[in-house]
Symmetry: C2
């Protein structure tokens, strides 16, 4: 009955959010979502910090309005946090945001007019595709290679569309778990610089490395500091429920992001900001991260071992060095979205891969999360999925 | 150097935010802003609740991802909270948002295409005018009377523009402190129903009544439940730093608001949501509100007494029955924006009135906040302002 905006009238919520509601059932083994392990959430530490903040002399200021850019104590810690990751930034280069998601949304708000093209990896983070829709942008996928983006395809599309933005998750990508090489990153930056395209480097997983060699962030490799805007979050490394993340980029861009945030929600809750500030200041971050990495490494290994043991050989999957996801490809003739209801019936959830493709392709792919289930459930779930896929393959071969 | 979006390229932050930065100076007597009194922020209660939540059995779930619509414990409390204010709502009618501001932003996102008209009271909440700009909407002001909106002017503009939205702050309005009569509210709803216009009733101040008779909210008077979307917040009654507010409206509208929020920031921090849920559940809300009302009533009375005592009689001002603001009109030939730098130099801040007018008029008006200064500072600040305005009037009369 209502006349909704063009932005939202055809959006009915992502498939992911709907699947995530199903996965709240305790019997469900969920390889959907991208939730940190409950065991990795630092409840005691945060309880201790929050209690000190709220009974301390600055308690009233934490409950009062504060500046949009971020709580000064947090922004000061973030300068150090970025510096320890090799990124040089000043306070004017940082905006605190409500989850990486808000950073992506505000960057689109700052740059995108209706009809503008945004280049993305194909496949890419599905929520970014949804954000692009709400800004009535055209998300166009760039082909990939084992090293990262296909540079020829990237240059063709930069030349053709002259896009304002390229969006990438170059480290332990969502959904594929892939990491771009240093050379690929440098070439992407050089190309984008030439065509005046700003790169959004979304890096929620970079700190979750379980093996292999560290690759510098694109933000580190962007010597001018003008081409890459870096978005990172404490959702995967501390606690998503606090909704603390940051954008780091040229002061001129960050100023627009701040103005966008003023109109949207004024500021992040100061209590959550102070919790992260103290968490960093007291050195809990590195210590807890190390423990969490051990948990996630074990889960990744268990997942890969179960896949190796049970999955039919026609199903391909990668072996990510970090992050939260394994990416699988079924034989071309199979459709992961069609099979999903049967998997859910058997109490195993995953995300259908086509959700991550700007062009809706990739129907034979799926994303598997390994962070949020313990080893026993991982083995049980992978076994169920493997048997289901094997049945489908057998039916096809017999039919 | 960057090519920003049409939405943001001409937005350089509200004058208010810039003034608010100045008012952080401890010597500044600030009648700008709309901050609750630091003394009214329930630090001890919130410290106690937060500590119990974070050491309780649901601590991990508070730090984990949750559903976009709102934490179920909070949404259940909000049904009761609204019911006690005479508003019948089910969970499907409620979306938790990050401050009333986000509710307004998401409602614009749900309804507004570039170029759409939004009717607003003239003057109105300045941040709403900024939000309208970010959606490239045309905000058109409706004339007012002592009773509320001028119904003739409203009907002419509804007929002419067929707007999707009318935005009003009908109770202790920001900026004027005015309250629409019940009859005026009923007529506005009937007219908007006829023309298919959705009313956004922004009500952050309604619970802060210091005298006079309770007037029903427009949401209560909207018998069909289809015309009015109600936005209210705990920023003025509990603590703005928690950023907890809600939208209440027809399920179809709330669903779009939820989808908009999914893309924007996924959810409010669960800790802040649980703090408000427990604050309501344990009955702290009504008890604390009563104490806070006594503080604010005394400040309003002190402000009016100082105005009566010091302000030249050419300066007019109202006597609001609630809320946080007094609205003043200087003689027509004066410009409050021009005088503001001199006031700031004398360490008194206010907000220039023209910021609140969709058409930039009202240059002789100003908004005065009385909640955030104690009685001594109120008297001192009003005296300084009165003398400054008196000097200007005298100069004019002598010149």
């Amino acid at each position: 009955m209502y006349s909704f905006s063009d932005k939202l009238k055809n959006l009915n919520g992502t498939a992911t959010r709907e699947i995530l509601k199903l996965t709240a059932r305790p019997d469900m083994i969920s390889f959907a979502g991208g939730m940190p392990a409950a065991e990795c959430l630092p409840c005691d530490t945060i309880a201790e910090i929050a209690s000190e903040i709220l009974s301390g002399k600055n308690a009233a200021s934490v409950l009062q309005y504060g500046q949009t850019e971020g709580r000064p104590e947090l922004n000061a810690e973030l300068v150090g946090y970025l510096s320890s990751a090799g990124i040089t930034a000043d306070v004017e280069n940082i905006q605190v945001v409500s989850g990486g998601q808000q950073g992506l949304d505000l960057l689109c708000k700052a740059f995108i007019n209706k009809g503008d093209v945004i280049l993305v990896e194909n496949p890419t983070y599905l929520a970014f595709l949804q954000i692009a829709k709400t800004y009535e942008a055209r998300a166009i996928g760039v082909d990939t290679t084992a090293d990262g983006l296909d540079l020829n395809d990237l240059e063709i599309k930069l030349k053709k569309h002259r896009p304002k933005l390229l969006y990438v998750v170059p480290t332990f990508s969502n959904p594929t778990g892939k990491t771009y090489t240093r050379e690929n990153r440098e070439s992407i930056i050089a190309l984008c610089k030439t065509y005046g395209t700003v790169i959004i480097e979304d890096d929620p997983y970079g700190r979750l490395r379980y093996g292999g060699e560290l690759v510098p962030t694109m933000k580190q490799l962007d010597k001018s500091g003008e081409t890459v805007v870096y978005v990172t979050s404490f959702s995967k490394t501390v606690a998503p429920g606090l909704r603390i993340a940051l954008c780091c980029g040229a002061a001129e861009i960050i100023r627009k992001v701040s103005i966008g945030k003023q109109g949207v929600d004024v500021q992040n809750p100061a209590l959550c900001q102070m919790v992260i500030a103290e968490y960093l200041k007291r050195g809990y971050f590195e210590k807890t991260l190390e423990k969490n990495i051990a948990v996630y490494r074990a889960r990744r290994d268990a997942f890969l071992a179960a896949l190796d043991k049970y999955m039919p050989k026609d199903v391909k999957y990668n072996r990510p060095e970090g992050g939260l996801f394994i990416w699988a490809e079924l034989p071309e003739y199979m459709d992961s979205a069609e099979i999903l209801p049967e998997a859910l019936e058997k109490s195993v959830a995953y995300i259908q891969g086509n959700e991550f493709f700007a062009d809706g392709s990739g129907r034979n792919t799926l994303r598997l999360n390994f962070s949020n289930s313990n080893e026993a459930r991982i083995e049980a779930g992978v076994k169920i999925l493997s048997e289901l896929f094997a049945t489908k393959i057998k039916e096809r071969n017999n039919g």
